[in-house]
Symmetry: C3
Subunit: 138 residues, 3 copies
């Protein structure tokens, strides 16, 4: 049993999903684990993780549009000092995921055909986001 | 430390929750792990995992009704070529879970008394869904 | 590779978030794992886990206000025998998290500067909630 850990620094763009499948696959490959588990952990509270469709980019636009409407910046929030997009970003993070797990088989993530891994930036401006990739297995 | 991995193929029914607690418990029992961790990973983007009440089936109906209203098929979505239920299914998946983890103690999942494990089918039609069960421990 | 498991019993207050970062850090420290993974699993379906901002307590109030409005107690639910707050509590749990994972490095959780770990009580009354902490690593 081995453990392997790496922190990736990902550049996002504002209010959109950035696909990171390839970086994670490279990290898994570097770890040399044949069978095991890959855990992703995002070190932020205004960006999150989702596993979503990787084929039609319109899906990503619809996701963003839906969440922008569900958690409007025009809503009333007590916590407003960091800008109108900050509290909605915290709520959107609570509604999605800070951690994700994907098993590894034959040295590769067992993602379905249509699954991609994304960081969802919930702030208006782009950010550098830190993602810890933890891999365990044999 | 051992790793054990199995892919289950689960038949769902449209727009409803299918309980899979028993299949997962059987898989854990087969793995022969006394103390460890069970990770579930669903290889799809229009169905998801939730851990929910296992007693009153009305809870499952209320969950489905709430999500049907929160993410209406009648909404405007750019991604509409795969039918009116497809984009809502992706959004409902983002709002729930693609992976879940349940610790194992004394050879069994540490589920609470009222917790059941469910696959939530978000499309109108039934599907076969692939669930990877990854178990590690001693 | 070692496994370590402990069940914490946490006292919540009604409809609010209780920070548990310190208890989890103590458990990680007790486990003596330098590099590994910490999994949290809440044994309930009307309370949940979130990783959220730890600085401004107003964020927690805004989170609660948003969810109270998104999943109103005044809504129509078939499952109503356990009180008007019970079915909304199940829905709020589905929208947030029953399990969370946080990698461990140099004996500590790799939480970001602004991240705290919370149990979110979704019922009106305070409860004792059981949280299983599973730690694996070297």
């Amino acid at each position: 049993m081995n453990h392997y850990q790496q922190t990736l620094r990902i550049q996002t763009t504002g209010k959109s999903l950035t696909r990171i499948t390839r970086q994670i696959e490279t990290t898994v490959s570097d770890a040399g684990i044949e069978m095991g588990l890959c855990t992703l952990f995002l070190r932020h509270t205004s960006a999150s993780l989702v596993i979503q469709e990787n084929a039609d980019p319109d899906v990503l636009v619809d996701l963003e549009n839906f969440f922008a409407k569900l958690v409007p910046e025009s809503g009333y929030y007590i916590h407003s000092a960091e800008g109108p997009d900050d509290m909605p970003a915290h709520i959107r993070t609570a509604l999605t995921h800070t951690s994700e797990q994907i098993p590894i088989a034959r040295g590769r993530l067992v993602l379905g055909t249509w699954q991609g891994i994304y960081i969802w930036e919930h702030r208006q401006r782009r950010h550098h986001r830190e993602l810890v990739v933890h891999i365990s297995g044999n």
